[in-house]
């Protein structure tokens, strides 16, 4: 099953293919294969990353502001998740506003005609806000490589909340990298829930020393 975001890309590529009749065959091949054959002419391959390829962006604290840019190959050196897992969402997974629904009463609210009040509004700067949340307690030099996997609309007690499913990779040159998956608020960037944390045989112990009078 493909996500909604992929559809326009495929459609526009197909239109381009029709216009450039010499490469129609190549396009049809691409559509069927979901990945371009190595001999596909350069001009018909979308410059966008493949739909199943994860795009990483680096969040970095610079002069109290969060800088966001496409992750460099050096930053991604130790990050191995480069492909989105196949989208095997179950047949009951429903959508609204192009987002997967999550929570209560999903069947009803998947009908866009049913009014759904929301408690937040997606903010185009949610990643910067998230970066601020993720980095404000971190030591100098720590960065975050962020992968955005999916957008959700969570419904609870008849109200919607926009959320983003992300993979957070902390790049810490001193104490080592860490990673986990999370849901973040699409407006404030605040983390809502986390999972898929690393299971280490020898985790670094966090020590707490007692106060001595």
């Amino acid at each position: 099953m493909k996500t909604d975001q992929e559809t326009p890309k495929i459609k526009s590529s197909l239109i381009a293919g029709v216009m450039i009749c010499g490469i129609v065959a190549g396009l049809i091949y691409w559509f069927n294969q979901e990945s371009p054959p190595s001999h596909t002419p350069q001009q018909v391959v979308s410059p966008q990353p493949q739909s199943k390829t994860i795009v990483y962006e680096t969040l970095e604290k610079k002069d109290k502001n969060i800088k966001r840019y496409p992750s460099t190959s050096v930053e991604l050196k130790n990050i191995s998740l480069h492909k989105k897992p196949d989208d095997h969402a179950s047949p009951t997974t429903l959508k609204r506003a192009g987002r997967f629904l999550r929570g209560d009463d999903l069947e009803r609210f998947s009908d866009e005609k049913v009014y759904l009040p929301t408690v937040n509004t997606p903010n185009p700067n949610w990643k910067e806000k998230l970066g601020h949340e993720l980095l404000r307690f971190q030591p100098e030099g720590v960065k975050v490589a962020l992968a955005h996997e999916q957008s959700y609309l969570s419904i609870s007690k008849g109200k919607g909340r926009y959320m983003e499913l992300i993979v957070v990779n902390y790049i810490n040159p001193v104490s080592g990298n860490t990673a986990f998956r999370a849901l973040a608020d699409s407006e404030t960037g605040q983390l809502i829930d986390t999972w898929d944390q690393t299971h280490s045989e020898r985790p670094v112990q966090i020590k707490f020393t007692q106060h001595q009078d």
């Binding site: 999550r102 609870s156 993979v167 104490s175 998956r181 898929d196 966090i206 106060h211």
Partner: protein, 810 residues
């Protein structure tokens, strides 16, 4: 990419390997498979296409020398017969699904390390490399993990198709399996279908890990002995792979249902889920080699960090044996390290030994009682572990696709899949902290499946016989694990969780499993101790917050808290604007060892609405506060939604009209002046009396209930391994200096608003329980000694309530 015939070869190899265990030493002295010790030059052209060579076991076992040097020439332990690796040009392989569903083209691959973008490439289509090279380690990892991956996929396919058969509901099926129907269509059998990437030569000194966020395993080497790699020790790799597939099993139902969230195999530096999981992972290693210890080369030889899995192993201290009186019993051996038997160490690996020893003993029992081969018996244990983890990790709350006696939409485990007010799935909080995996719940679930599969209804799945349940109960008891009264077949559903079929444990089988009243856990009141420890050193807390955040353990910190924790003054008191760590000084007032002590600081159902103002209920065991001190008015007769005696069925989410007046409340109340008297009230009452803008509450204007003091989510529960009789936790687990080492799992983190008026007095009402507690899981008022229902963990009854009262000092 699918290779057919070689897989069959491997299959046969697995079966043969399974039967080989009997040839190996069970005394733990390093095995008897000594090789000819003639060096085999593993050159490219010495093998056919698609082949390479593996170290058939770790170098200690192959050499028969427990003191083998790090610099030893490992080529002496290669056999000349090549091993089939893969005909693929890269070190990667596909996996079959079931029938036409669930096949995974890129199922697993091996790369050198995280900096390497692609799996290893064959040289002249061959996989033979000199034994000292990283390439050899990669091929060795591939070959050994491939054996387990094949065994795993064969087992799960067999369960899905024949043994558990989720597509056939009862009564045609003889038990309710937790394996979901959509297992293969959603590729839930392989965590959604992504490639497991194995880094065989990772930059991870003396360590190994499993990272579910990118589905990777990492195997390091020793800084002091760079030649020694974890990837040379199959037992270590199989342990780590065991973590991976446990995580996969825990999420069978979640992935099949299309949920984005995942359950974790553990949640803290020390918790019982994590400790059981370490024992289970040690067992995974045992299931492949049948040996009495694991990690002979990767852990024992160079890090003194191996673990036996059988009392017969000579690593054990004197006094430990397979004799029923001398087993590695819970909770006595939770902090036991065989290499340092007098030390007490709160660590998941050592604590996990009770689990591994029980599982190996149960395997032997299946071999003897059911005349099973080692492979049949260990496959049966893996089957029961699969069912147990699939149900325990279930965030859909349904436990099975066909729960008998319950409507499918009604939850039977982990309360339910609804969202709480902050958007977190309630079931996820249940799995993580509210009703988490502990030694009682885990072995009850394991026993339920053992009963239903091997014993119930004249089952003949004990290799044609009916497995006697007394065997299991007596064995569990010999490990101190018969801590449950029933098999809880009827689940935890609010409507039918205390009715329906529910097999009871034979009480006479409980001889060594000790249950203690919850009333015997207290705060240490001795004159030389403080009932609490407060940690507020800036550097410590900043490091803790940064670490816990980077690991994904904690989510939000209030924007009211400055990012350098400038208010943290290290005076051992709670001051405005600080992030503080709090540990209760817990005391065991009984004559037996208490274990699996958990303190909860999350929101719970302990207030009642009084004319629009929530007030603390005083009808619980703590009878706090007095009616004259601000308590909610009494319920009067009867109990209905909104009353103190009524525990919310939906963790406070339903509201009107289903559960009018039901909501959760944070743990901390505050003293406010009310005319001439002081009363205990909500933090919002203090805010109103202070005329404070709700914008300045820790959680902002929509979170006024914990405006001034707030437990940090993810650090709102604490675990303590065990407390010896008549003493405190601190004195049970001392370090060399005699005082305890506090780890992150021992500490609750709280934020204190910069706007708290100095001198303000707070009272936080924590809920505390422990695993071997009489009343914390079994409902004493139920005539069948059934378990508390899932929803009841939102309330006071399954817990001991302990108060932490403090004055904020500037």
């Amino acid at each position: 990419m699918g290779i057919k015939s070689p897989q069959h070869i491997i299959l046969i190899t697995v079966l043969v390997t399974g039967t080989l265990h009997g040839c190996l030493s069970s005394g733990g002295q390093g095995g008897g498979r000594k090789s000819s010790e003639v060096a085999v030059q593993n050159s490219t052209m010495s093998v056919p296409e698609g082949y390479g060579r593996l170290l058939q076991d770790n170098p200690i076992i192959l050499s028969g020398n427990v003191n083998l040097e790090a610099t030893a020439d490992l080529s002496k332990y290669l056999r000349s017969t090549p091993d089939f690796i893969t005909y693929n040009n890269n070190l990667m392989e596909s996996c079959e699904g079931s029938g036409t569903q669930g096949s995974i083209e890129s199922c697993y691959e091996v790369r050198k390390d995280r900096a390497t973008a692609l799996p290893l490439t064959a040289v002249s289509k061959r996989w033979a490399f000199p034994v000292t090279t990283s390439e050899f380690a990669q091929v060795n990892a591939f070959g050994h993990i491939k054996k387990y991956i094949d065994r795993y996929h064969n087992l799960i396919r067999d369960l899905y198709t024949y043994k558990a058969n989720p597509n056939t509901p009862p009564p045609l099926n003889f038990y309710e399996t937790a394996i979901p129907r959509a297992l293969y269509t959603t590729k839930a059998q392989w965590y959604g279908g992504q490639s497991l990437v194995i880094y065989a030569d990772c930059d991870l000194p003396g360590n190994a890990n499993f990272t579910p966020s990118d589905f990777t395993l990492c195997f390091g080497s020793y800084t002091e002995y760079p030649q020694v790699k974890m990837a040379q020790d199959p037992s270590v790799m199989h342990h780590e792979f065991g973590h991976g597939i446990s995580q996969v099993m825990m999420n069978f139902r979640n992935i099949a249902a299309g949920l984005p969230e995942r359950s974790n195999i553990s949640y803290a530096f020390y918790d019982e889920a994590g400790s059981i999981q370490e024992g289970v992972a040690d067992y995974y290693s045992y299931a492949m080699n049948g040996r009495s210890r694991f990690g002979e080369w990767g852990l024992i030889r160079f890090a003194n960090a191996g673990r036996p899995v059988d009392e017969n192993d000579t690593l054990h201290a004197p006094g430990i044996s397979r004799n029923v009186e001398e087993r590695l019993r819970y909770p006595d051996y939770l902090t036991y390290d065989s290499s340092e038997p007098t030390a007490t160490i709160e660590d998941v690996h050592y604590a996990g030994q009770t689990t591994s020893h029980f599982l190996t003993a149960f395997t032997r029992d299946l071999q003897e009682t059911c005349s099973m081969t080692f492979t049949q018996a260990s496959d049966t244990v893996l089957y029961l572990l699969t069912e147990s983890y699939a149900e325990l990790g279930d965030l859909t709350g349904t436990a099975s696709d066909h729960s008998a006696g319950a409507n499918i939409s009604e939850a039977t485990i982990n309360l339910g899949s609804g969202l709480d007010s902050s958007g977190v799935r309630i079931s996820k909080d249940w799995v993580m902290k509210v009703a988490p995996i502990n030694y009682r719940n885990f072995f009850q679930k394991f026993a339920k499946y053992a009963y239903q599969i091997l014993n119930k209804g004249s089952s003949t799945r004990c290799n044609g016989f009916n497995y006697p349940l007394d065997n299991l109960e007596k064995l569990l008891d010999s490990y101190g694990l018969l801590l449950f009264k029933t098999y809880n077949e009827n689940g935890g559903n609010a409507n039918n969780g205390n009715s329906g079929t529910n097999k009871q444990v034979t009480a006479a089988n409980r001889l060594k499993s000790v249950l203690i009243s919850k009333n015997l856990i207290k705060l240490d009141s001795s004159t030389d101790s403080s009932p609490f420890f407060v940690f507020d050193k800036r550097a410590d807390i900043l490091s803790a917050v940064a670490n816990l955040q980077a690991r994904g353990n904690i989510t939000q910190i209030s924007s009211q808290i400055p990012s350098q924790l400038d208010y943290n003054n290290g005076n051992g008191e709670i001051s405005p604007g600080e992030v503080v760590g709090i540990a209760l000084n817990l005391y065991n007032d009984s004559n037996s060892t208490m274990a699996g002590v958990e303190v909860l600081a999350n929101d719970w159902d302990h207030t009642k609405d009084d004319g629009g103002v929530p007030k603390p209920c005083n009808s619980f065991e703590d009878a706090w506060p007095l009616s004259t001190e601000g308590a909610a008015p009494s319920d009067g007769s009867g109990s209905s939604a909104g009353a103190c005696q009524w525990t919310t069925r939906t963790n406070g989410t339903a509201g009107a009209p289903t559960e009018t007046g039901e909501s959760l409340h944070p743990v901390c109340f505050v003293q406010v002046r009310d005319g001439g008297t002081t009363k205990w009230a909500t933090q919002d009452a203090l805010r109103i009396s202070q005329n404070q803008d709700p914008n300045k509450c820790l959680g902002g204007t929509t979170n006024r209930k914990d405006c001034y003091i707030r437990a940090i989510r993810g650090a709102d529960f604490a675990w303590y391994s065990k407390i010896n009789p008549k003493t405190s936790w601190g004195k049970t687990v001392p370090d060399e200096s005699g005082s305890p080492t506090f780890n992150s799992n021992n500490i609750l983190l709280f934020e204190a608003s910069p706007d708290i008026p100095p001198g303000t007095v707070f009272d936080c009402r924590f809920r505390v329980r422990f695993t071997n507690c009489t009343e914390c899981f079994t409902k004493q008022t139920d005539s069948n000694e059934d378990d508390w229902l899932d929803y009841e963990y939102s309330g006071p009854l399954p817990f001991k309530i302990l108060h932490f009262q403090f004055t904020v000092i500037d």
